[in-house]
Amino acid sequence: MAILKFEGVKKQFGDNVILKDINFEIEEGKFYTILGPSGSGKTTILRLIAGFDYPNGGSIYFAGKQINQLPANQRQVNTVFQDYALFPNLNVFENIAFGLRLKRMKKKEIQLRVQEALALVHLAGYAHRELDELSGGQKQRVAIARAIVNRPKVLLLDEALSALDHKLRKEMQSELRQLQRQLGITFIFVTHDQEEALAMSDQIMIINEGLIEQSGSPVDIYDEPLNHFVADFIGESNIIPATMVRDFAVAINGKEFICVDAGITPGEQVEVVLRPEDLDITTVEKGKLTATVDSQLFRGVDYQIMVHDTDGHEWKINSIHKTTVGKQIGITFDPEDIHVMRKNETQAEFDARLESYQGVEA
């Protein structure tokens, strides 16, 4: 059973509608990420779950019970705040023990639990440090320890890693993931960093302007973005207008290509997504499309090459091979590299369509 459920949840401040109609289910023991641009309502969702704000419409269920108006201190949810929100008047030990002391736990038990939590976040021996003796990354860990020591059912993390530098961030990503597996607690992690979301999550929810655009596993979302917004937001992509010819065939620049999508009306205007790393540069004769190289940027592991085709569409290609600016080249790709997106297709419609022809294919 779902531990947490949003049903048609709305939230507005004055006339400003922040969440329009949010629906999702959270299962126990998984790592969820809410991903979306700044101001899309991610923090607002977490605040509703934690109980710092109440919804204006719809229902929030926790373990089957409606908790719309339940005060924050009565929810089995803990939060790791973006700014850590550690109590400056308390040292590391007392910060972590805060929740346990409120539960009137025995001193010995508190001691034990705090040490255990500190060990989990690799801070054993830091119990008696003051906060100003910690680095940013260490404070981050204390904040996590303070939350998990209460053994919540759900842990909310709001941009928990955004204050850290790149290297530490990468480290903490895998540590967090490991911690989540170890504890079996449901994590709901908010970020606007798509790379982070792809690396850490079991499930990603992509939110934009108060609506969930798509949810699914990282691979699903990367390979089969539902619409222009998702394709653009997740990873790098070429989004090119095209026309559906028939099932498993789509026309780009008037040229027909075999693809793996079906169930779309022939002649329908669609968009195709091609990931830059799926495109290969070849000679004009061997190429499926002809293009001219506009620029080339070395990025350490590969070159990012910008080209424009004979129809004037811009393409982004990631290649480990160098080319020459101004040169005529050919672009090739495989049928499965093409992903066709219909305009205004909902996730349910997409799933239904996928099912209708994948049965045929198999």
Binding site: N73, F81, A85, P88, F98
Partner: protein
């Protein structure tokens, strides 16, 4: 290069300190060892320590300052807390600060108008048939007016401490299971203690040496060290004794500052 520049810009400040802080203190200290005939002596201190009148005055000063401080604190904390929650808190804070721009004497006279025999309160009491009462020249009116005048100086530091608390700290406390009251006791109060200490200093110390209000509102029924100093300098012209009492007040203030200053200990839990 900056060393010299530094000194240059700091000079007015040091000059100010020397002329208006250090010099008066030194003078008072020096004067306190002179008797009426300008001879050097410690008699003033002996007189002070042996006279029950002075000891009673000292006790009175401390006791009334304590009451005034206590009353302002009880009023100021909730007021500061509530103002801090308002959207238009700057406006409300301005209302609190505004009275400090009005001359002290003016405010005191205003209270005579309110509390006096023909004042608005007594007029009202007569109107509802309760007859007139002696409000002016009572301990209560003295404390009330003194507290009113000192109130902004208590509210300001407490307010500043409250608004400095990040809202996420309150949320974190609730999130960890604390009730509103527990959040106050475990988070808000410890984080505003320094503000309260600053407020106590700002109110207690001036309250020790009030003299004008004791006369105009307290009707000289309340004699504090402040009144005594005024008497010695202006009436009996015993500057030596006046200075001695001044030194005693300075020492009392130092003690208050030491007691309320826990910034070095950090106020942390073990």
């Amino acid at each position: 290069m900056s060393e010299k520049k530094h000194l240059f810009f700091a000079l007015p400040y040091y000059l100010w300190l020397a002329l208006f802080v250090i010099a008066p203190l030194v003078l008072i200290f020096y004067q306190s060892f002179l008797n009426l005939h300008g001879q050097f002596t410690v008699q003033n201190y002996l007189d002070f320590a042996q006279s029950s009148v002075y000891l009673k005055m000292t006790f009175n000063s401390v006791w009334y300052a304590f009451l005034i401080t206590g009353l302002t604190l009880i009023i100021a904390y909730p007021v500061a807390y509530i103002i801090a929650q308002f959207k238009s808190r700057d406006f409300w804070l301005a209302l609190v600060i505004l009275p400090t721009w009005i001359n002290l004497l003016l405010k005191t006279y205003a209270f005579i108008g309110i509390l006096g025999e023909k004042g608005s309160i007594n007029t009202f009491l007569r109107f509802i048939g309760l007859g007139s009462h002696q409000l002016l020249f009572t301990d209560a009116s003295f404390i009330l007016v003194a507290a009113y005048i000192e109130l902004p100086f208590m509210i300001l530091p407490i307010y500043n401490a409250i608004v400095a608390i990040k809202p996420s700290l309150i949320n974190a406390s609730l999130d960890l299971g604390a009730s509103r009251f527990q959040t106050f006791r475990r988070v808000i109060w410890p984080l505003t203690k320094n503000g309260v200490a600053a407020g106590i200093q700002a109110v207690f110390i001036p309250s020790l040496s009030l003299f004008m209000i004791t006369r105009l509102i307290g009707g000289n029924r309340v004699i504090t060290l402040g009144t005594a100093i005024e008497e010695h300098f202006l009436t009996t012209q015993n500057w030596g004794m006046g200075s001695t009492i001044g030194v005693v007040l300075v020492v009392a203030m130092l003690i208050v500052m030491l007691l309320t200053d826990d910034s070095k200990k950090g106020g942390r839990a073990k």
